[in-house]
């Protein structure tokens, strides 16, 4: 391959996934685009630090998460039209017959940042609770509690009975 390095190819192929991850963190497409752009530039410059190719995806997701935190954590921008964001990201979604899925997306977007971020990291990013704890500078117990509560809120949206008993 004369023109594009394998690293660039992989970066480009992972970009939609990084953008999706950033979008759920930032709740704003433009912010997510900026975060991913900066993250990819950082990854490009730091590619020599990546010794295990199989670690590329979590490495990139971590860079995206840190970049989002670095640039925007102290400047949470309210998304003015969450429902619009949902429907406009994919025209098909606007006419989706799966109303429950749409409602779930809206509910995830409305989760407090402290709950949404670990949930996105876990479900979409594939991070373990210990990795999330390390990344967010929390105890693992705190992460477990946040994840439990996040699912609890979403559980109500989906009409699933809440867990009884020892919920934290």
């Amino acid at each position: 391959m004369a023109g594009v390095s394998p690293f660039e190819h992989t970066l480009a192929s992972l970009r939609p996934e990084l953008l999706r991850f950033a979008l759920w963190l930032a709740r704003d497409r433009q912010t997510a685009e900026d975060v991913v752009q900066e993250a990819m530039l950082r990854a490009w410059k730091a590619q020599g630090e990546l010794t295990k190719p199989e670690a590329l995806r979590p490495w990139l997701l971590t860079i995206v998460r840190r970049e989002h935190a670095r640039l925007y954590e102290r400047k949470r921008h309210p998304t003015t039209d969450i429902d619009g964001l949902i429907s406009l990201e994919d025209p098909a979604l606007a006419a989706s017959e799966d109303q429950q899925l749409d409602e779930l997306r809206a509910a995830i977007l409305r989760l407090p940042d402290d709950y949404r971020e670990p949930l996105v990291m876990q479900v979409l990013g594939g991070f373990s609770t210990q990795e999330i704890a390390t990344e967010m500078n929390l105890t693992q117990q705190a992460v477990l509690t946040r994840l439990f509560r996040a699912r609890g809120k979403l559980r109500e949206i989906c009409g699933v009975a809440a867990a009884a008993g020892d919920a934290p």
Partner: protein, 243 residues
């Protein structure tokens, strides 16, 4: 135990599995939570349309004051950070220039052609790109485009290409779509024609960078038409816009 299941329904360990064997309530809770997780995953895997059809609309709906706030947010953290950012960008550009100027032009043509494979749908667009979306793409790379001169832009996306974001445009011509990559800071010393992997194209030197203009070989665009399209874009592009 429910905290563990509710927080990490995919987790499994000996103690948990032993507990589940004896606890119907936790077993049911895990089953429900795993089902919920499947729905959450589906919800999170939001399909993302290219910038032209999504974010521009979102941006248009955002109040102007908020747009300005977001646009300037990283700069309001103080002068040292601004200098650090500027130094970082300057370093990146310098490294990029030194590195890529050593690469041959055929390598650039090959990279351009290889990039086409990443966005096959770009050739199938027909609706004009909203001006706000085009502005967004161009602004990322510090490029201006006189749309009236360039022709009808039906696709615009910021693409990661050789270590930087570049505007990837598709311009509709009478003979069919023509792809334009606006390659700020790429060094091309002379006009170069290439045919590769089903594409015919031109690399054109421009002050401040280069243009890559391509058509598909099976299209009705011959060399003269491609050259005409390239010259129109060449006149329309301005690299002087601050990035």
């Amino acid at each position: 135990m429910q905290l563990q299941i509710g927080a990490d329904p995919q987790a499994s360990n000996d103690a948990l599995e032993a507990h589940l064997l004896a606890c119907a309530r936790c077993t049911a809770f895990r089953r429900e939570t795993r089902a919920l997780d499947g729905q959450i995953r589906r919800a999170l895997e939001l399909p993302l349309e290219p910038l032209r059809s999504a974010s521009n609309v979102v941006e248009l709906r955002r109040p102007a004051a908020e747009s300005a706030q977001i646009a300037t947010a990283p700069r309001r953290e103080g002068r040292p950070r601004a200098w650090a950012l500027a130094a970082s960008v300057a370093l990146a550009v310098t490294i990029g220039l030194v590195f890529w100027s050593t690469q041959s032009q055929p390598a650039l043509a090959t990279a351009v052609v290889e990039h086409m494979a990443l966005e096959p749908d770009s050739w199938n667009q027909h609706a004009p790109v909203p001006q706000s979306a085009l502005d967004l793409v161009l602004r990322r790379s510090g490029v201006r485009l006189d749309r009236a001169t360039a022709g009808e832009v039906v696709y615009a996306y910021s693409c990661w290409f050789r270590g930087r974001y570049v505007p990837h445009l598709v311009v509709q011509t009478s003979g069919g779509p023509v792809t334009v990559l606006v390659l700020r800071d790429e060094a091309v010393t002379r006009e170069q024609r290439f045919e590769e992997s089903g594409y015919t194209g031109l690399l054109l030197p421009v002050q401040g960078g280069a243009l890559a203009v391509l058509a598909r070989e099976q299209s009705a665009i011959d060399a003269a038409a491609l050259n005409e399209a390239a010259q129109r874009v060449l006149q329309a592009v301005d690299f002087d816009a601050p990035s």
